[in-house]
Chain length 261, copies 2
């Protein structure tokens, strides 16, 4: 048994900075989350942005101002150390990449945990819906679109989507499964022609990697958790911390906890 | 045709204060909403309270600070005049009951619209699930419980629930229907013994009216939109406006818009 099969050891290695790689495939069945940390003076606008745009910004938990323990989704854990890798942004520009954020912590910070599509992908695999970027061992392709999010205070911008090529005979299941997971982006926001939502070239994603779309497959687009980061960067706030892409927070919740019964 | 069959006339009469009665049975199929208006300095805590307690506090829309047009749920309407009756609270005590709130309006007010169980009751009727308080022509019975809501900032308190007696052979449908409406309180929070959730006497509701529970019927409890009002009053804020109970805001949305597909 390697350390990657041992939950306690995975968490310990991440906490101590011994493991600073991506979290894909770690602790299968546990829900992974996007992290955004903002100063209190931006928290209301951001919370409102999430309320108005639940598909790209599905809130799993908002932590009390100045606190770093996610009491709801991971009691006892510490958001300052328990992610493998963080990005620090100042004035909208990445200024550091670190494995813990203790030295950046202040009492006026508010942490937001948002759902991530890893959750529904595990159900795709269980039901035989292919997940191309996992098959190809790359990051999911993500694209900026012409779909406007609803504004909230200082935050505005367009939706970023992720794309998975789905065989025609699996399309119904892909829609059914994601419809049952509104807390992790939910049902697709577009099926088929990329140009209808302002995507010029499927082979040139704005984030992540291109994947093959095979004959008989349809590109299907889901709202993506990169949207809130893109929207925050539009505003160029003085200070923001996020997880590094793919280096998520592993909660104590199980993916099935977010199944909409 | 009376004016109660004419949507335009209903809205006009409410706006002009000519009709100041309850909205039950008016404009069937249109979604009715609870209204809470708070000063900006309490808006973050209240928004967070709703995020953490979506069953009692299902947000349909949060209006921009100082604005009174619900752009999302009722474009062109005016929350200062378009409800039949409002309560004004000062220091947690009701100080006035009015049919428009123009003279109370200030630029720092934030309006919250929350879902209401009228929405799922119309589907109960369509599927033959009895709604006792409608049959008896009274208000739904509501009870304070021992179920603690999750705290958020200055707001804390216990959940208020509504009760509907459901025949055993309709219980499955009642649960299925409300499970499909998470935006209007969703599935029951308790089925059966009232004492398990701190209710001493079903015949003495804390709000609304008692109804008959007949032989072969089970009391079923849903999170109730009175919860946020009770929680706000616990804190006794300097100033709050709400709709008068039963005198709801009629949105332009249809009940089916809130069906979780």
């Amino acid at each position: 048994m390697t350390w990657k099969q041992n939950e306690t050891e995975i968490r310990q290695r991440i906490k101590e900075g011994q493991y600073d790689g991506p979290t894909t495939g770690l602790m299968n069945g546990f829900t992974q989350a996007n992290l955004v940390i903002l100063p209190q003076n931006l928290a209301y606008d951001f919370l409102l942005f999430c309320q108005r745009n639940p598909k790209p910004c599905p809130l799993l938990e908002v932590i009390d101002t100045g606190k770093y323990e996610p009491k709801e989704t991971a009691p006892g854990k510490d958001l300052r150390t328990d992610l493998p890798r963080y990005y620090i942004y100042r004035d909208g520009v990445k200024s550091a990449e670190v494995t813990d954020i203790n030295k950046y912590w202040t009492q006026d910070l508010v942490s937001f945990l948002l759902g991530c599509s890893f959750t529904f992908e595990s159900f795709f695999l269980q039901r035989g819906v292919p997940v191309r970027h996992i098959e190809e061992g790359v990051n999911v392709p993500m694209y900026r679109t012409n779909i406007k999010c609803k504004d909230a205070g200082v935050f505005h911008g367009n939706m970023v989507v992720s794309m998975r090529p789905i065989p025609e005979n699996k399309l119904t299941e892909a829609i059914q499964i994601t419809s049952r997971f509104p807390a992790v982006h939910g049902a697709p926001i577009h099926i088929g022609s990329p140009e209808k939502i302002g995507i010029k070239d499927l082979d040139s994603p704005d984030f992540g990697n291109r994947v093959n779309v095979e004959s008989g497959e349809i590109p299907v687009f889901w709202a993506c958790g990169v949207t809130p980061q893109a929207v925050i960067m539009n505003y160029r706030p003085e200070f923001v911390i996020t997880h590094a892409p793919g280096h998520m927070f592993i909660t104590d919740k199980k993916d099935m906890d977010y199944f909409q019964l």
